[in-house]
């Protein structure tokens, strides 16, 4: 009985991230539009786009390989699973111990790996640009992420997100290392989701684009899958930050229905807040040249490493 309920909660979580992801995207676009004195697209626009894309027939290049066709699904699946493992409204989900924070990072890595591969499949120069730049960013963002994980894990004494969240709820305190980790994590999140200032999701100006360059050849349902994966990834990072740094309202393991409800509500609030802050950040800053990005990510890496070092030296940081 308990197992069934756990599975139900887990399923709910998976569905939730799937459903909320486009919403978050739409929300950010809307807010951005507003901030730019535009009306902006309707909040539900992403859903419409996805549905339209899914229904269309897929046009793929003559020399596309099986990898090109199966890639989007794998990318989406990896991202989705990763997102499903991050506690959104409740901790101690059934499968939360199936993969810890490091594994989640690695899952995102797998998704990126395939994305970069499919970018090179057709053999166009744009795909190459996109992939190589994406991997260059990743080669800095991933270690930064790992360092952040170290910091958090050393503070919370665990790499399990549920336990981390619980720990944070129990003894919430202002720590230098955590502050560093937060800043680093935000930088990584911005980079990973190809947001300004690292990349511009809204442009197709060849020289600047990274993410878009990789998916240039996609259309129809494949494109939909990739777009959805991107949305889920954004959601993942927001909820990751939320669950580590403001875990309040998270329902405990085998909590009551009310607890779950409050958890969901608080999660929604956090999501919107996170989205708003993100957009605010984006609109207040200009995109940087590609070869400034390494420095930008290097900061994150350094911050993460610093945090870890501090904790190695003394637990009290």
């Amino acid at each position: 009985m308990a197992l069934i309920r756990d599975l139900a909660v887990q399923g709910a979580q998976m569905l939730l991230v799937l459903v909320l992801a486009p919403l978050l995207l739409g929300f950010t676009r809307k807010v951005k539009g507003r901030l730019l004195r535009r009306r902006g697209p309707p909040v539900l626009q992403p859903y419409r786009d996805l549905l339209r894309l899914i229904r269309k027939e897929a046009v793929i290049a003559d020399n596309a390989s099986w990898l090109f066709r199966s890639g989007p699904y794998m990318i989406f699946a990896a991202t989705w699973v990763a997102a499903a493992l991050v506690p959104t409204f409740a901790t101690g989900l059934t499968f939360s111990w199936a993969a810890d924070l490091i594994a989640i990072t690695a899952l995102i890595g797998s998704a990126r790996f395939f994305l970069a591969l499919v970018g090179m499949d057709i053999g166009t120069s744009f795909g190459g640009i996109g992939s190589s730049r994406e991997m260059m960013f990743a080669s800095l963002a991933e270690p930064a992420m790992i360092m952040i994980v170290f910091t958090v894990a050393l503070v919370a004494g665990s790499t399990q997100l549920s336990n981390v969240a619980n720990y944070m709820q129990m003894h919430a305190s202002l720590r230098v290392s955590l502050g560093l980790a937060l800043v680093a994590l935000i930088i990584v999140a911005v980079a990973e989701n190809a947001r300004i200032p690292v990349d511009n999701p809204a442009t197709h100006l060849e020289l600047t684009m990274v993410h878009e360059a990789m998916v240039l050849e996609y259309s129809g349902r494949h494109l939909a899958m990739i777009e959805l994966a991107a949305a889920v990834k954004l959601l993942l990072y927001v909820s990751l930050i939320a669950c580590i740094f403001c875990p309040w309202g998270l329902a405990p393991a085998d909590g009551t229905l009310a607890a779950y409800a409050t958890g969901a509500a608080s999660y929604l609030v956090k999501l919107l807040a996170g989205g708003f802050l993100l957009v605010l950040f984006e609109t207040s800053i200009a995109k940087m040249r590609v070869f400034r990005v390494p420095d930008f990510l290097g900061i994150a890496l350094m911050l993460g490493l610093l945090g870890t070092l501090l904790l190695f030296v003394s637990r009290s940081f």
């Binding site: 490091i102 070869f291 190695f312």
Partner: protein, 686 residues
């Protein structure tokens, strides 16, 4: 020196539990016989098939025996003493848990390589230079792992180098191969001599070279021993800066041999390190670990960065061997640190991580070299810049190669990730270490490890993307063909094992338990007992990972999505020309090449590490000649360590050489001076 009389040196066959080691030794004998057979009949058409079949069967046999030995874990492994080798010691062989594990690794790799070679070897141009040495190489590696006294160990060790050197020289008409072979054999014997010195210290000049005696003896200067062993084994395993021979020699050999050298021989070197440092020396000191971890971290990053700069597929793989050796030694170093402070459980975790990575790396590196061999076989090209689009012509190879790439990039749900994850867990336990040096260096090395993992992913996107994806860059690539069944069988087998080891890591970890127990006194908690086959290094509250579940999750959700979309939305597909932002270019030359792919990373890291510089030669407007981009990369390690030595030897040789051209009178004056000098000494002697 004990007189040879006092110990009877006839083969000891009494005592139970001897079966495994006896079988292994007979296997080695069979291999050597196969070598003789190859010498006799290497011209015969079926010789290649026959030899490789023998190797395959022998490897499988030893693999089975060692596997059983490892799992059923017979406690005190008896020693077989043969009346050969050093007279008053005899050649001693023993199969304890550690040896059993490394035998499993060795013969797994050996079996795979032999299977691959059954097909691949058919295309060998000079079988007479490969067939006799291949079985010898296998046998020597087995002997190293089995040896139970210093002499047999070193004989087997150097014999392994010798036979592999012969294999590197197989295609000796290529001057690059010759110089590679030269550097290799010199480095190898340098390593052997340092090990020899180490054993000289361990055995204490009395001639007690048996491992049993060494264990009981009290060692002088264990620190020096560690340094010597680190140099000796590191030069074979490829620790920076002793790695220079590796990326030259491994690619030079035939691909199945490259697989053995990268996948197995480096592991035998790791075995040497573990055997001596953990087993023979015992009682480590904390600063050893600093040394090991530091070197290992640098090795990681250097290896992967150098790999990124390559466009020769096999050399790229060889550099990745360097990187993975670094990862393994990080684990070993952590294990040293923990056991130096008597933290048993973490030590067991770190050691398990290292050994598990040994196993994994053997798997996917062999797999990747098989793939490279298949490509080489199908296209005659090793240079990625001349390849591309192979996924269409050789889909099966592409699939297995992709699996290998995912595994080596440490991405879930494959096995490479698990061992790196365990290493990370070990690092997370190290704040408890009291010594300050470690407090500083361990997190830094953790960052290096993470960095190299990410860079490895980038590197293999490049490797797979440029080689297999895109459009063929040369006719050779365009007319490639899928390889034969045997090769494919080998590749698929290893890909499958990679997956299994990735989703069922618990089994492997439990299999390693006896090894860690014998070396650091304890083992990781039994994993197979846990629900859902997940693995838990220390406690579930700290961290856990379940490869199976992740795999199932991903598989299910992929299938689910595909199913839903294809059912409820469209499944229509239309083929058309590539879009490419509106102006597609028919020439495949416009694709991203390996070098251009690495360019961003080269700009980020290359300036520092390689003094890399891109120089663009842009013709003036109206000038018809093409613009040229030249990339220069310098190997600072070679310039720093090896060039001076070479220069010194050259100069010294020149100086000394003048003595060849003296006149008799001058030679006489040498004698005269020597005489007078000695007489002076005698006259002033107290």
């Amino acid at each position: 020196m004990p007189a040879s009389g006092d110990r009877p040196l006839r083969p000891r066959v009494e005592g139970k539990g001897l079966m495994p080691v006896a079988v292994a030794l007979w296997g080695v004998v069979a291999l050597f016989t196969a070598a003789l057979l190859a010498v006799a009949a290497h011209r015969a058409r079926t010789a290649s098939l026959l030899v490789y079949l023998i190797c395959l069967t022998v490897c499988l046999t030893i693999l089975g025996v060692a596997g059983v030995q490892l799992v059923t874990g017979a406690g005190a492994a008896p020693t077989v003493q043969l009346p050969i080798g050093l007279p008053w010691i005899g050649a001693r062989f023993r199969m304890d848990a550690l040896s059993a594990f490394f035998l499993v690794v060795t013969n797994l790799g050996g079996a795979g390589a032999s299977l691959f070679a059954i097909g691949y070897g058919r295309h060998e141009k000079a079988p007479g230079r490969v067939l006799p040495f291949y079985p010898v190489f296998l046998g020597a590696m087995n002997l190293v792992v089995l040896a139970d006294d210093a002499f047999s160990f070193l004989v087997a060790w150097e014999f392994m180098s010798l036979s592999s050197w012969a294999l590197v020289m197989a295609h000796h008409r290529d001057p690059d191969n010759r110089s590679a072979g030269y550097i290799y054999i010199v480095m190898a014997s340098f390593g052997t001599l340092t090990l020899l010195l180490a054993f000289g210290l361990l055995s204490g000049g009395g001639g007690d070279y048996a491992f049993a005696d060494i264990r009981t003896a009290t060692q002088a200067l264990p620190g020096l021993v560690l340094i010597l062993v680190l140099i000796g084994t590191g030069s074979k395993a490829g620790l920076v800066p002793l790695h220079v021979w590796l990326p030259l020699a491994h690619p030079a050999a035939p691909s199945h041999v490259s697989a053995l050298m990268s996948g197995v021989m480096t592991k035998v070197a790791v075995y040497g390190f573990v055997r001596i440092v953990f087993d023979l020396v015992g009682s480590p000191v904390w600063w050893w670990s600093i040394l090991v971890i530091g070197v290992a971290g640098i090795t990681c990053v250097m290896g992967v960065l150098s790999a990124l700069m390559q466009h020769d597929l096999k050399r790229l793989l060889a550099y990745h061997t360097v990187e993975n050796i670094g990862i393994i030694f990080i684990g070993l170093g952590l294990a040293l640190a923990f056991s130096a402070h008597d933290m048993r459980a973490p030590a067991a975790l770190a050691l398990t991580a290292a050994l598990f990575h040994v196993f994994n790396h053997c798997l996917f590196k062999s797999l990747l070299f098989f793939g490279a061999g298949a490509v080489l076989n199908a296209t005659g090209e090793r240079d990625m810049e001349h390849l591309g689009g192979l996924i269409h012509r050789m889909p099966l190879t592409a699939f297995t190669f992709l699996t290998g790439c995912i595994a080596i990039s440490a991405l879930p749900p494959l096995n490479g990730f698990v061992s790196e994850w365990l290493t990370f867990q070990a690092i997370l336990l190290s704040p408890a270490l009291p010594s300050w040096g470690l407090k500083i260096i361990v997190p830094a090395v953790g960052a290096m490890l993470a960095l190299s993992a990410a860079l490895a992913a980038a590197c293999f996107v490049k490797a797979f993307g440029v080689t297999f994806l895109g459009r063929p860059r040369t006719p050779a690539a365009a007319q490639a063909h899928e390889v034969d069944r045997a090769s494919l069988a080998a590749m698929f087998a290893f890909a499958l094992i990679c997956l299994l080891a990735g989703v069922l890591p618990g089994l492997c970890i439990d299999a390693l338990a006896p090894v860690t127990r014998s070396l650091v006194g304890t083992a990781m908690p039994a994993q197979t007992a846990l629900p859902w086959l997940s693995i838990v290094p220390i406690a579930e509250s700290r961290s856990s990972y379940n490869g199976l579940l992740v795999f199932v999750f991903i598989a299910l959700s992929t299938l689910l999505t595909v199913e839903i979309i294809h059912r409820f939305a469209s499944r229509a597909v239309r083929r058309g020309p590539a879009w490419d932002c509106g102006y597609p270019d028919p020439s495949p030359a416009t694709q991203y090449t390996a070098d251009s792919f690495a360019q961003p990373i080269r700009r980020v890291f290359g300036e520092v590490v390689f003094r890399a510089s891109d120089h663009v030669d842009m013709p003036a407007p109206g000038d018809a000649r093409p613009a040229r981009l030249t990339v220069t990369i310098r190997d600072l390690i070679w310039e720093a360590f090896y060039a001076p030595i070479a220069a010194f030897v050259g100069v010294a040789g020149e100086r000394f050489n003048r003595l060849q051209f003296l006149t008799i009178r001058q030679y006489l004056s040498l004698v005269f001076v020597a005489l007078v000098g000695l007489l002076l000494v005698v006259s002033i002697w107290p």
